[in-house]
């Protein structure tokens, strides 16, 4: 079984540019989550999808971040415009149900210059 895959693995962009991260969950997992870890901090929850619906986006930092999951399969997280403080590692996770263990991808390391 393929795990959670994320693309790209690394992204380096300049402040003010736009970046889109992609996550493909484990096949059949309706629940998809985004987390991020900024330098020196703990991994923090961003949002949760059940199929194509956003269940909880309370962790999204501000309106420069937009997550979508059209069709309930893969998800994208767009940052527009990127700011320096957005640098960090963005993780995606998925689970079969919302009570099941979350399985993580290897993350996208985002660097804003």
């Amino acid at each position: 079984e393929a795990g959670v895959t994320q693309f790209p693995s690394h992204s380096v962009i300049e402040k003010g540019q736009t970046v889109t991260l992609r996550c493909d969950p484990i096949s059949g997992h309706d629940n998809l989550y985004w987390y991020r870890r900024v330098m020196g901090k703990e991994i923090k929850f961003l949002l949760h999808f059940v199929k194509e619906s956003k269940q909880d986006e309370s962790g999204m930092p501000n309106n420069r971040f937009l997550a979508e999951r059209t069709g309930g399969t893969y998800s994208t997280l767009k940052v527009q415009p990127a700011e320096l403080e957005d640098s960090g590692v963005y993780f995606c996770a998925s689970s079969q149900t919302d009570g099941a263990a979350q399985h993580f991808g290897d993350g996208t390391r985002l660097s804003i210059l």
Binding site: Q6, Y33, E42, I43, D98, G99, A101, F104, D106, G107
Partner: protein, 111 residues
């Protein structure tokens, strides 16, 4: 939100010995607890989980202990191997989806 703390940020263990990694939490309403292992350049890898209606659960070479009275969680690794060197995170939730993570303990296995 939940506050999750660790007792030690680093742990050095002799190969073959048992490892114990600890985690403390603040919210007594937390009902689901997970341990993850993260190797360099990888994402957190699920090790074992436990729900609040249990106080112990065992996996392959790993045991998780939950003490709800003192809000303490621990991960025990038996016969630690070099491949166990990694950062270990405890995570918890009280609603089955929004995980709160601790800062992580870096485990180094000495040959």
């Amino acid at each position: 939100g939940e506050s999750v703390g660790l007792h030690l940020p680093t742990l050095s263990v002799q190969e073959g010995d048992n490892s114990i990694i600890n985690c403390a939490y603040s919210n007594s309403a937390s009902d689901y607890f997970i341990w993850y292992k993260q190797e360099s350049g990888k994402g957190p890898q699920f090790i074992i989980d436990i729900r609040s209606n249990m106080d112990k659960r065992q996996g392959q070479r790993v045991t998780v202990l939950l003490n709800k009275t003192v809000k303490h969680l621990s991960l025990q690794i038996a016969a630690t191997q070099p491949g166990d060197s990694a950062v270990y995170f405890c995570a918890l939730s009280r609603n089955d989806y929004k995980l709160s993570f601790g800062a992580g303990t870096t485990v180094t296995v000495r040959a």
